[in-house]
C-alpha cells in the first residue's frame, strides 16, 4: 500500500501521484518555515536585480518540508531527535514564487495550503504530501544524515534551514495532486455543509 520513492523523483513520477496515494521517501529534502521562506524569497528577488544574495544552500529541485526540527549537537555532529510537519498554511503567501524560482518538485507539511499554491501545483505538475502531525519520534528515526544547516544563529533551531537525507520517511499521504484535487478543501467543504445543515 505504501509506495517507496527514491529522491530525486522524476517529473513523470510526481505527475503520476494522486490524492490518497501513500508514499515513503528516501533522499534529500530541506526544511523551511515562515522566516526561512521570507529569506529565500528575498534572495530570489534580489537575484532578479543586479546584485545576487548568495544562499548558503541550493534549494533548486529540492522538496520543501514545512518543519522545525528538534536537534541535539554532540561536538560537531548533529542528531535529529524530532522531525515532523508544521502547519503549512502559514507559508501560503511565499510558496508559489519560491516554487517557480527553485523548481520545487513537491511540498511536505500538514493541514494543506490555499488556492494560490493549489494553482502552482497544477501549473508545475507538483504535489503536496501530508505527514502525520505530532509524530516527531518516528520522523527522527527516518533521518539518515544531516547534510547541512543554515541560518541557525540568526533564526534559531526551528526556523533554520536543515538539509536532510531521509530514509523511508512516511507514511505521507498525497492530499493535493498535480491534477488540482485538494483533499483538505473537499473535507472542509463537506464538514461545513454538515454543520450548516445541522444548525438550520
Amino acid at each position: 500500500m505504501i509506495r517507496q520513492i527514491e529522491l530525486p523523483a522524476s517529473a513523470a513520477e510526481v505527475a503520476s501521484w494522486r490524492v490518497g496515494d501513500v508514499l515513503s521517501l528516501s533522499g534529500v529534502i530541506l526544511t523551511a518555515r515562515d522566516l526561512a521562506h521570507r529569506r529565500i524569497l528575498e534572495a530570489s528577488l534580489l537575484e532578479a536585480g543586479e546584485r545576487g544574495l548568495d544562499l548558503p544552500f541550493d534549494p533548486t529541485g529540492l522538496p520543501i518540508f514545512h518543519c522545525g526540527p528538534l536537534a541535539r549537537r554532540d561536538g560537531v555532529r548533529w542528531t535529529i531527535t524530532g522531525l515532523g510537519p508544521t502547519t503549512s498554511a502559514r507559508m501560503e503567501s511565499t510558496t508559489p514564487a519560491i516554487m517557480a524560482r527553485f523548481a520545487t518538485p513537491f511540498l511536505i507539511g500538514k493541514g494543506g495550503m490555499g488556492p494560490a499554491t493549489r494553482a502552482a501545483l497544477v501549473e508545475r505538475g507538483a504535489a503536496y504530501l501530508a505527514a502525520v502531525g505530532g509524530t516527531g519520534a518516528l520522523g527522527a528515526r527516518a533521518v539518515a544524515e544531516v547534510v547541512s544547516v543554515a541560518w541557525l544563529e540568526e533564526l534559531g533551531m526551528p526556523d533554520a534551514v536543515w538539509v536532510l537525507r531521509l530514509s523511508e520517511y512516511g507514511p505521507l499521504v498525497v492530499t493535493m495532486d498535480p491534477q488540482g484535487r485538494d483533499l483538505h478543501e473537499e473535507i472542509v467543504r463537506a464538514a461545513e455543509r454538515t454543520v450548516g445543515n445541522a444548525s438550520r
Partner: protein, 288 residues
Amino acid sequence: MFRGARWGDVLVEAIRRATVSLSPDIVAGLRRALDGETSDLARLQLETMLENARVARENGLPLCQDTGTPVFFVRAGTQSPWLANLEPALRDAVGRATDSIPLRPSAIDPFTNRNVGNVGRGVPVIDWDLVPGEEIAITYVAKGGGSENASGLFLVAPGDGTAGVLRAVLAHVVRVAPRACPPVIVGVGIGGTADLALRLAKRALTRPLDARHDDPAVAAFEADLLDAVNRSGIGPMGLGGACTALAVHADYAYRHPASLPVGVALQCWVDRRVTVRIPASGIAEVVE
C-alpha cells in the same frame, strides 16, 4: 509514581515524562477512535500516532518536534512553605529540561525574532489559582503552536443562549481543527470577562480525558458539542473520518447582563500533560 526530596528535580522529571510519554488516557482515546474508523486514511493516521507513542516512549524521544510553549497551571495552597520559591523554580525546571531532554528552543522575542530557548519574558506561562491549604498542585501542559493558533474568542449575544454558544464554537472548531492536529481536545470557557473565558477554556484542557463536568447542564453541553464536532467528518489530521475530537471540556463563570464571552482553546492529540504535587513536607511526587 516518582518521588523526590528535591521538588525541582521532580519537576524536571515530570516535564521529561510528559515530553516522551503519551498519557494513558490519550492512548486509550486514540485506540477507541481507531475502533470507530472505517476509512483507510483515518486508520493510517491513528495507527501512526499510536506507533509514534510507542517509539517515543521506548527510545526516550520527544513525541513531537514541537515541544511546545511550557504552561504551568498552579493550584497553590496559600499556607505552603514553598510558595515564595515557586516561580523561579518553575523557570529553572524548564531551563534544565530544555538542556537535558532536550526540548526545542521555542521562545522567540516578537520584535527581534531572536530565539532565546524556552525561558523568557512571560514564558513559561504560569496560571495561578490560590486555594486554601498547604499543598501545591502543578499541572504542566506543553502547548504546541499549531493548536494555539486555533484559539478563538466569541462575544455571543446573550439572547442567543447556550444554543448560540454551541453554534459559534462548532463553526470555529470545524474551520480550525484541520490545522490543530486532530483528533483534538476542545476547551470551552463560557461567561465571565473575555480574558476569563479564555482562561477557563485553557484550564479545562488540564482535565483527564474522560472527566465530565460535575454540573449536569455543562456535561450535557460537552456531550452535544462533541457529538456535533465528530459528525463534521473532518477526522484524524483533517483527512476525513469519524473522530475529530477526543473530548470537550467546558467550564463557566457568571456573566454580565450584556455580555456572553466564549473562549475556545484546542489541544492537539499529543496532549503532553502531567501533574506534580508538592505537600508541605517538600517530598514531591509526579501523579500519573
